[in-house]
């Protein structure tokens, strides 16, 4: 399986790129599995995911929790909690 992986804000800065196409091994089922595998890919990936309480996920552009099955999703995005204006 091949999936588009997107990173935003400081997650992107830590990983070093904004987008990549990845094919995780078959034993990767949930998003937590996927993150564990991502952390082994580079020191940048490891650093981006060092504090998971600050990571949010969207699967095919929908907010989802860490234990979600990736299934046949085409796009997964990792980013910090969202922040808008100061009001």
């Amino acid at each position: 399986m091949s999936i588009t992986v997107l990173y935003f804000a400081w997650v992107k800065e830590k990983v070093g790129i904004g987008e990549e196409q990845l094919s995780p091994p078959d034993n990767v089922k949930t998003i937590s599995d996927f993150i564990a595998w991502l952390e082994t890919q580079s020191p940048g990936h490891a650093s981006a995911f060092s504090d998971k309480s600050q990571i949010r996920i969207a699967l095919d552009q929908l907010h989802v929790p860490f234990d979600t099955d990736i299934g046949d999703a085409k796009e997964i995005a990792f980013f910090p909690p969202v922040t808008g204006g100061a009001w």
């Binding site: 935003f8 969207a58 969202v82 808008g84």
Partner: protein, 157 residues
């Protein structure tokens, strides 16, 4: 229901007048404008100067999320129309970041829908804010108050 995402400045008054004209038979129109402030609270009464703000977003998901939020507002309240305009990219203090308008026969519906859209938007729409001061630039950390405000609406689900 109209969603606009733009990097150009938002002319709030002009957009509101257009919205009013196309909803002239709605008794009440509630609107909200969020503006870039030239300072950032640091707690304990401290604040630092903000010279510019940069809003990164998730193209594709942002539009979908704003549409989901507006659709949910239209399901919860009796609205004639809703408008959400959000800016992204770099902006200056005093610029409008977001404009929300909700038109309804009764003002209670327009106020609640407008406030709901704002609360949801702050916790769900994929925007990340970076503040630039004269010496520094940093990502802004999400606030718990916003989560608390957004949670209020879950009770009415």
């Amino acid at each position: 229901m109209v969603i606009k995402l733009q990097s150009e400045p938002i002319n709030a008054g002009e957009e509101i007048n257009t919205f009013l004209a196309s909803n002239s038979n709605s008794g009440g129109v509630a609107t909200f404008v969020g503006q870039v402030r030239d300072f950032q609270e640091q707690g304990a009464g401290e604040s630092t100067c903000v010279s510019a703000l940069e809003l990164e977003h998730y193209p594709g998901m942002t539009e979908k999320e704003l549409e989901r939020i507006s659709a949910e507002a239209q399901k919860r309240w009796t609205l004639d129309a809703a408008l959400v305009i959000h800016r992204h990219g770099r902006m200056n203090p005093g610029d409008a970041i977001v404009l929300v308008c909700a038109a309804a026969a009764h003002r209670g519906d327009s106020f609640s829908a407008c406030e709901f859209i704002m609360d949801r938007l702050k916790t769900q729409a994929p925007f990340w804010k970076r503040e630039h001061s004269s010496t520094d630039s940093s990502w802004v950390v999400a606030r718990e108050r916003d989560d608390a405000r957004a949670k209020r609406w879950e009770k009415v689900d």
